[in-house]
């Protein structure tokens, strides 16, 4: 592990320097309690003591609505595209959310690169903040996505009494230290040891929403899920799409053309596989007419071995937002446990 110390009284200065060349996205408190990731205007806005941000990071890489084509039908048709080329540093974001981005990387990269995603991704740097106090809904230990990461970040910070222990995970992460060498100190052996002690302690603090994904993955992947589980989950699911909205890795989209006179824009926007119209064809034929069909498809994509292989890991990171957002108790830990037990409890 390559680690340095960023003393507590240098953190703000480091953030200010980051802001000179990039948009800095950090956790910000909105109202009394809620924390959202957002661009900061000052380091004072950063909420270092938060648990889970209300929304994950996906909208910064895949906006809820975005133009993927502009065209003009005035005379011969002309088409064009534009890309978001803003440099961004994501500062103090949670390990589960950084891992969610790794899943998006697999989905939007691979052998057919999505240029709108990649334009943002290539200009993004992730400074993760380890989680020392998981919230009741959290289960990142089951998602292999926290509370501390062993890799996948540019930098990973752990809050110690004297400042931030900064682990360096990439060349970009290293460059941020090199360019601001005057702010950093050497990390002492006991500071590094404290990081591992804190990680072990944090792992003991998880609540009731253990997801036991391995057991669910085995049954899903081998087609051994009791059909009753899907019927019971379908009884609870209200098809609101809340879980897909909040999930760091749910990233299905649909596409529409909008015209203003002779100028058109083709936009993609978030969609949800739980909606009854999601797979419906123009003819009216619907390959997944029942809600249980759609739930099964969603969880198969989320945690089957087959998709884990294609995406490099399972798509659930255990952030627990579906637990907070689901009105009907058909969130991932509940369904995952149902799959494992053969009945939803």
């Amino acid at each position: 592990m390559t680690a340095r110390m960023l003393p507590g009284n240098k953190i703000d200065e480091f953030a200010v320097r980051l802001m000179r060349s990039a948009e800095v996205v950090a956790p910000r408190r909105v109202g009394e309690e809620d924390v959202f990731y957002g661009a900061i205007a000052s380091p004072d806005e950063i909420a270092w003591d938060y648990g889970t941000a209300v929304e994950p990071l996906k909208r910064f890489l895949l906006p809820q609505r975005e133009p993927i084509l502009r065209f003009s039908t005035n005379g011969r048709i002309r088409v064009g595209a534009e890309y978001d080329e803003q440099q961004r540093v994501f500062l103090g974001v949670r390990c589960c959310d950084v891992t969610g981005v790794a899943v998006l990387d697999a989905m939007y990269g691979g052998d057919t690169v999505d240029p709108y995603y990649m334009s943002r991704r290539e200009r993004s740097t992730f400074i993760a903040l380890t989680c020392q106090q998981p919230e009741p809904h959290c289960f990142c230990v089951c998602g292999d996505a926290g509370p501390f990461l062993e890799g996948g970040y540019d930098q990973q910070w752990t809050a110690l009494p004297e400042g931030m222990l900064v682990e360096i995970g990439s060349a970009a992460g290293e460059a941020l230290v090199r360019d601001n060498e005057d702010l950093f100190a050497e990390a002492e052996v006991d500071q590094v040891a404290a990081r591992y002690r804190l990680a072990r302690e944090a792992e003991q603090k998880f609540g009731e929403f253990k997801s036991y994904i391995a057991g669910a993955m085995r049954k899903l992947s081998m087609n051994e899920v009791a059909p009753a589980v899907w019927e019971q989950a379908a009884d609870r699911c209200m098809e609101c799409g809340g879980c897909t909205y909040l999930c760091p890795t749910c990233s299905c989209f649909t596409v529409t053309d909008r015209m203003a006179g002779q100028d058109g824009v083709r936009e993609r926007h978030w969609d949800a596989c739980l909606y009854s119209c999601y797979a419906r064809e123009a003819s009216g034929h619907n390959p997944r007419p029942e809600r249980e069909d759609r739930l099964r498809a969603r969880f198969f994509h989320k945690i089957s071995h087959q998709w884990a292989v294609r995406n490099g890991r399972q798509a659930c990171v255990g952030c627990g937002r579906c637990v907070l957002g689901c009105m009907g108790w058909a969130h991932t830990p509940a369904v995952s446990e149902g799959i494992r037990r053969g009945v939803m409890t």
Binding site: P287, R288, F300, Q306
Partner: protein
């Protein structure tokens, strides 16, 4: 950066009405460089932009051989196809692709080739039929079975006539419901299968049609002794991106757009465990 969402512009060269609700549009890419680079195989599809109405996937329904344009045969059924059907020669559209995989060709040389099409399921089969017939000597036999609901629903009527008369090819037609003037076979397309006498141990069947027809024909073919790898079909799903990103066409662990649309019955059975 290469942008797979950017359509290439194309112009409608020819409009041929096939039936009361289907039309074949012959399209030619506007840019000569793009035209040269546009190489496709039977079974592949494109995303067609009707600017302002939207985009939808259509199989390419003509062989690439000897042509610098290509056909899309389209049923008028939704918004994009509705506007397209109002367009005429000279109209401009967008094309992304070719997308998806293709029918096996070299791999099936030497075999008896059986095509079974239902309704507009003949659209994706047509380029493969044309290519196979063009190299007829390379195949043991060529049979086309085609059925539609009524005689009015039969597409490519000129070509069907030609296929029926052509040497070295058997083409049998049927309709579910006859009308005045129809003297041919009446019944579902599967009812033509008993008239086929080929060595199924050295045969491959290409099947496309509505889901219900595919299901029954595949059962019949299995009963005749066709192995799961010797039954090839092409699937349709609601699609947006065509490149494995939007996930609309996902079946189990496959995208129809990227892993398909051509699948063997063996592959379909593996998918069906998860979805159908």
């Amino acid at each position: 950066m290469n942008n797979p969402y950017l359509p290439k512009l194309a112009t409608i060269q020819k409009v041929k009405v096939e039936t009361y609700d289907t039309t074949t549009f012959t399209l030619r890419l506007d840019d000569s460089g793009e035209r040269k680079a546009f190489e496709y195989r039977p079974g592949q599809f494109v995303e067609l932009s009707v600017f302002g109405a939207g985009e939808a996937p259509f199989c390419i329904s003509s062989s690439a051989h000897g042509r610098d344009d290509f056909d899309l045969s389209v049923r008028k059924v939704g918004r994009v196809t509705g506007v397209l059907h109002e367009m005429g020669e000279g109209g401009q559209v967008g094309i992304r692709g070719p997308l998806g995989n293709c029918f096996p060709f070299e791999e099936v040389k030497g075999k008896h080739i059986l095509f079974v099409g239902g309704g507009i399921g003949l659209f994706p089969l047509r380029p493969q039929i044309q290519d196979v017939y063009r190299e007829r000597a390379q195949f043991a036999s060529v049979t086309v079975l085609y059925g539609a609901r009524t005689p009015e629903d039969l597409v490519y009527q000129d070509e069907l006539e030609q296929w029926q008369q052509q040497e070295g090819m058997t083409c049998l037609l049927t309709v579910d419901t006859a009308a005045d003037g129809w003297s041919g076979n009446v019944g579902v397309v599967g009812s033509l299968l008993p008239k086929v006498s080929i060595d199924v141990s050295n045969a491959v069947a290409f099947v496309c049609g509505p889901p219900i027809m595919i299901r029954f024909v595949v059962q019949d073919l299995s009963g005749m002794g066709f192995g799961d790898d010797a039954i090839i079909t092409t699937l349709e799903r609601h699609m947006r991106c065509g490149i494995g990103k939007c996930n609309h066409c996902m079946i189990g662990d496959k995208w129809v757009c990227k892993d398909g649309p051509v699948f063997s019955y063996r592959e379909m059975r593996a998918m069906a465990e998860f979805e159908e």
